[in-house]
């Protein structure tokens, strides 16, 4: 197990005022979510329903995907299947290259981040413009998103002003959000008008109607896919739900959980290509069927990427998106990352106090903190815990199996703490006491005092 997260988090917290600002900014989203969710009397019943619907969809995923494919084709949508990220990128590139596309307007999609689509296409001479404002900001800055819903949440408005000054030639010193947004709007407008294709993600694929649903706030997916004649939408296999009739359950939960809005500004249903145009849907596995095969982790595939678990997570709020080695930060990413590569992302399941807030905020009731706990066992089982920690746990386990040994060892430790506290300033005690005192060791333990209390 590496110490990636702990090290990055400690560095993040060194700038205390910035860390405090970040915690406050992200907590604000959690508060907005509470307000919005609290206004829905049947909120918990909606969560039950969403969780049940997803569990059902995952129980016959192959069947629903095939039903979706059949109905989508009947709608004139071209459906492609990709085993992994590489195959996905190749398919998307072939579609674009065959039609001579040079400029692509892309709306937000964590899947294409996962597949590394942008660098793949860029290295083949295409220009990809992320059209979601936050995505565009991090793209201009050459950074990955730090949050799955608010990709540029780590940047203050002043730093965005500087970035736009440098990249979009806006006047120096801008920090008014409205002015900055207008500058981005003018810049993006030209890109939208010049693009020969639009790329988007998929929030929900409807098996019974063969349509896809894309949820945005800025209308960028609509603009990007309705101006050019070609739209390529990428979706993970887990995005399919059985019936359009159930979509309302998810839409009512999604925007409230993500941003505290009752509904997102744009919820667009695509049930076929533009007149004279083409609509392609690329269905991607990329390791998802492996996760589907594994209890208790299959439930993580129910995720609708609302980001509520990030906003509520006290560790995410105090360590920022870049402290996570996986591209999706926060609790859900700390489950998905290690399932892909336990060694590389081994620190993530330990980057949680197991407080359980994520599981209760999750609109589809993924038991995130229990999955993090289960992953810890797996990481230890792979021999990835440092031997010092492994030994410490072994020793403690041994001592605690023998009451007499436990009594003696504990009494000795207490006595040493009282008489020579310097002696115990090693290992975990040394780390504990960097910013905290140890408790005052009492002369007698409870069990000794209890005897005096009389039976």
């Amino acid at each position: 197990m590496n110490t990636f997260h702990a090290d990055r988090a400690a560095a993040f917290l060194e700038d205390a005022p910035h860390a405090h600002w970040y915690d406050t900014a992200v907590w604000f989203m959690r508060s907005k979510r509470d307000h919005a969710a609290g206004a829905v009397a049947e909120w918990e019943r909606l969560r039950d329903a969403a969780s049940g619907l997803k569990a059902h969809a995952l129980s016959d995923l192959a069947g629903y995907l095939e039903e979706f494919e059949k109905n989508a084709k009947a709608n004139g949508i071209q459906v492609h299947w990709a085993r992994d990220g590489e195959e996905h990128n190749r398919i998307v590139h072939e579609i674009l290259a065959a039609r001579g596309v040079k400029l692509v307007a892309k709306s937000k999609s964590m899947l294409t981040e996962e597949c590394g689509l942008n660098p793949y296409l860029e290295s083949r001479g295409l220009e990809i413009v992320d059209t979601d404002l936050g995505e565009r900001i991090v793209q201009l800055a050459g950074e990955p998103p730090s949050h799955i819903v608010m990709p540029a949440i780590h940047r203050k408005k002043e730093s965005i002003g500087e970035l736009f000054h440098e990249k979009l030639q806006t006047p120096a010193g801008l920090s008014d959000p409205k002015t900055l947004t207008e500058a981005a709007r003018q810049h993006l407008r030209k890109k939208f008008l010049g693009a020969q294709a639009g790329l988007s993600g998929v929030n929900f694929a409807l098996a019974d109607t063969g349509g896809i649903v894309v949820v945005t706030n800025e209308g960028n997916a609509d603009m990007g896919t309705s101006l050019p004649p070609l739209h390529v939408a990428s979706m993970g296999v887990e995005k399919v739900i059985p019936r359009a009739a159930d979509l309302g359950v998810f839409l009512r939960l999604l925007a409230r959980s993500a941003t505290g809005q009752p509904i997102s500004t744009y919820t667009t249903h695509f049930h076929g290509p533009l007149r004279g145009g083409e609509l392609h849907v690329v269905i991607v596995d990329n390791g998802r069927s492996q996760i589907l095969a594994r209890e208790p982790f299959r439930r993580s595939l129910a995720c609708i990427r609302c980001g509520a678990c990030l906003n509520t997570c006290p560790v995410y709020r105090r360590s920022g998106g870049y402290s996570y080695s996986y591209l999706i930060p926060g609790p859900i990413g700390s489950v998905l990352g290690p399932l892909r590569d336990a060694e590389k992302h081994g620190s993530l399941p330990f980057a949680s106090s197991l407080c359980g807030s994520c599981s209760d905020v999750c609109p589809v009731q993924i038991d995130l903190h229990h999955q993090l706990l289960a992953l810890r066992e797996e990481i230890v089982g792979k021999g990835l815990l440092p031997w010092t920690k492994r030994l410490g746990m072994k020793l403690a386990g041994l001592v605690l199996r023998h009451p007499t040994l436990y009594r003696l060892a504990a009494a000795l430790a207490r006595r040493t703490l009282r008489s020579a506290p310097g002696l115990v300033q090693i290992g975990p005690a040394a780390t504990w006491t960097r910013q905290r005192d140890l408790p005052e060791p009492p002369r007698q333990s409870f069990r000794e005092l209890w005897k005096r209390e009389g039976a």
């Binding site: 702990a6 988090a9 400690a10 917290l13 915690d23 907590w27 509470d34 909120w43 918990e44 006290p314 560790v315 105090r318 399941p349 330990f350 980057a351 949680s352 106090s353 197991l354 407080c355 359980g356 807030s357 209760d360 706990l373 289960a374 810890r376 066992e377 797996e378 990481i379 230890v380 089982g381 815990l385 920690k389 746990m393 072994k394 403690a396 386990g397 605690l400 199996r401 023998h402 009451p403 436990y406 504990a410 430790a413 975990p428 504990w432 960097r434 910013q435 905290r436 005192d437 140890l438 408790p439 005052e440 009492p442 007698q444 333990s445 409870f446 069990r447 005092l449 209890w450 039976a455």
Partner: protein, 250 residues
């Protein structure tokens, strides 16, 4: 109500004997036939939560041997009780012995409220108190409704403290954010852990609390460690210590 076993977490045994004594006195004050099984050590949670299930398993099996045969097992700790009641089955598998012990193991507040049906709390505690709702008691045992859920609220610890004369239960801004203890998390992620703890303390200070009260000494040990290092006047107390002087009755 037959024989009841008092389960005192290892760190309470060693560092906070006064909390164990207070829990014992509160229970005996209600006429509970209480025993402290001498062979108890630790429930195994530190190992289990570190991913070291193999080291935790023998401790879970010991726990069943030591606490089998009692009509109830009561502990002044939500975290240790949630380990026994909810996580032992993942660790050692379902069995009759486990079901019997797990279903009869209670956190102190829930035992007082749910099993003994305490309604009367006759006593005095003239202080401004902020309640720290430790996560495992809150979100695993459901001692209260957490702020994430939208069903009607309840709070067993508050229910026990509120009737005390002179007590002023203050409202904090983030009602149930984690304090950052988290067992080995407190050391593995020391920087985040301490940052979380300081934020909790600031929240209680802002609300004017003199005492942070809770049902898990582990979280309070972490907060106390920060308070003492920064020489702040705020005190931490277990709910059992506050109830110790009161007369409780159904």
């Amino acid at each position: 109500m037959g024989k009841v076993a008092l389960f005192i977490p290892c760190y309470v045994d060693q560092f906070y004997p006064r909390v164990g004594l207070a829990a014992g006195r509160v229970l005996r004050g209600l006429g509970v036939d209480l025993e402290f099984p001498e062979d108890q050590t630790c429930c195994g949670q530190p190992m289990y939560n570190s991913g070291c299930a193999d080291d935790a398993r023998p401790l879970a099996e010991r726990f069943l041997r030591v606490f089998g045969g009692y009509d109830a097992v009561v502990a002044p700790s939500g975290s240790c009780v949630s380990m026994v009641r909810l996580h032992y089955r993942e660790l050692i598998g379902e069995s009759r012995a486990l079901r019997e012990v797990a279903s009869r193991t209670y956190e102190l507040c829930e035992y007082l409220v749910d099993v003994l049906g305490v309604k009367t709390v006759d006593g005095e505690f003239r202080h401004r108190v902020g309640l720290h709702k430790s996560c495992h008691g809150l979100r695993e045992l459901r001692l209260g409704r957490d702020s994430e859920r939208m069903d009607p609220p309840w709070d067993k610890a508050r229910q026990l403290l509120a009737p005390l004369r002179g007590i002023d239960l203050v409202e904090i801004t983030r009602a149930d954010e984690c304090c950052g203890f988290g067992g080995t998390f407190s050391v593995n992620e020391e920087a985040v852990s301490c940052s979380m703890g300081r934020d909790r303390i600031a929240d209680h200070e802002k609300a004017g609390a003199e005492v942070i009260a809770g049902y898990d000494m582990s979280c309070l040990m972490h907060l106390e460690g920060l308070l003492r290092r920064e020489q702040k006047p705020l005190k931490v107390m277990h709910v059992a210590e506050i109830l110790e002087g009161a007369r409780l009755a159904p």
